[in-house]
């Protein structure tokens, strides 16, 4: 894994400010930092939910995210990327995922953050199950996410 790439999968919540500061502290070559936070919403397809439970493939998830972060580091002039993905039970309003990218200029930071999120949505080995009043069900993958992920494929 490239220097300045950090990937964590954990049950605990994360602290956005400290993840950003890990990419900017003690240096003066970073001009742009983009953070994306994904949160658990209180409804899914219009129906209220009680919680999400996130399952992942330990070992593969970390390795795959790191491989995509390395790809982003090569593709854009970035000074660093941090990804934190939570697993376990998460209730509405809570954080699920954090991506932080840092660069000299804003365009690289924005594009790399979108690239990482599109990847995480469509191809990282995580699965969400919804707890609703009527029972539990696995969330189905959306074609939309595959399309978003595919736009980064170089022709």
């Amino acid at each position: 894994m490239t220097d300045n790439v950090a990937i964590r999968i954990q049950e605990a919540d994360f602290d956005i400010a400290s993840e950003i500061s890990a990419l900017t502290a003690q240096r003066s070559d970073v001009g742009a930092v983009v953070s994306f936070t994904g949160l658990c919403r209180g409804s899914e397809d219009g129906a209220a939910i009680a919680a999400l439970t996130l399952e992942h493939y330990p070992g593969m998830a970390e390795a795959e995210i790191a491989r995509h972060a390395d790809a982003a580091m090569s593709r854009w002039p970035l000074s660093g990327i941090r990804v934190v993905h939570r697993v376990g039970r998460i209730t509405p309003g809570e954080n699920i995922v954090l991506v932080v990218t840092a660069s000299k200029h804003r365009q690289a930071a924005f594009e790399a953050a979108e690239f990482m999120m599109d990847y995480l949505k469509a191809n990282a080995p995580f699965w969400k199950r919804v707890e609703a009043p009527g029972g539990t069900k696995w969330i189905e993958a959306r074609d939309h996410d595959d399309t978003a992920a595919a736009r980064w494929t170089r022709s």
Binding site: G38, L54, E55, H56, Y57, G59, M60, A61, A63, E64, H85, I96, V97, M117, L120, K121, A122, N123, A124, P125, F126, W127, K128, R129, W138, I139, E140, A141, D145
Partner: protein, 83 residues
Amino acid sequence: MKLKYFAWVRERIGKSEEMVEPPPGVKTVEELIAWLAARGETYAYAFEKPRVIRAAIDHAHVKQDAAIAGAREIAFFPPMTGG
């Protein structure tokens, strides 16, 4: 080889991993799925729509025509819904 199951594939089969020794004729992921589906009701249910199932060999996504020779760990799971 070790097999791992995630999400509803795991729930339907009723276990998260197991060791198997498929016969020599089972050479690809697709053939492994067909062999597993014939092992019993829970497997048949998990693999009832084989095209929906995603697979990874030794932590790398593979297509169903991928060869399984030499694999240490093969995982089966539904399409991913992370992020």
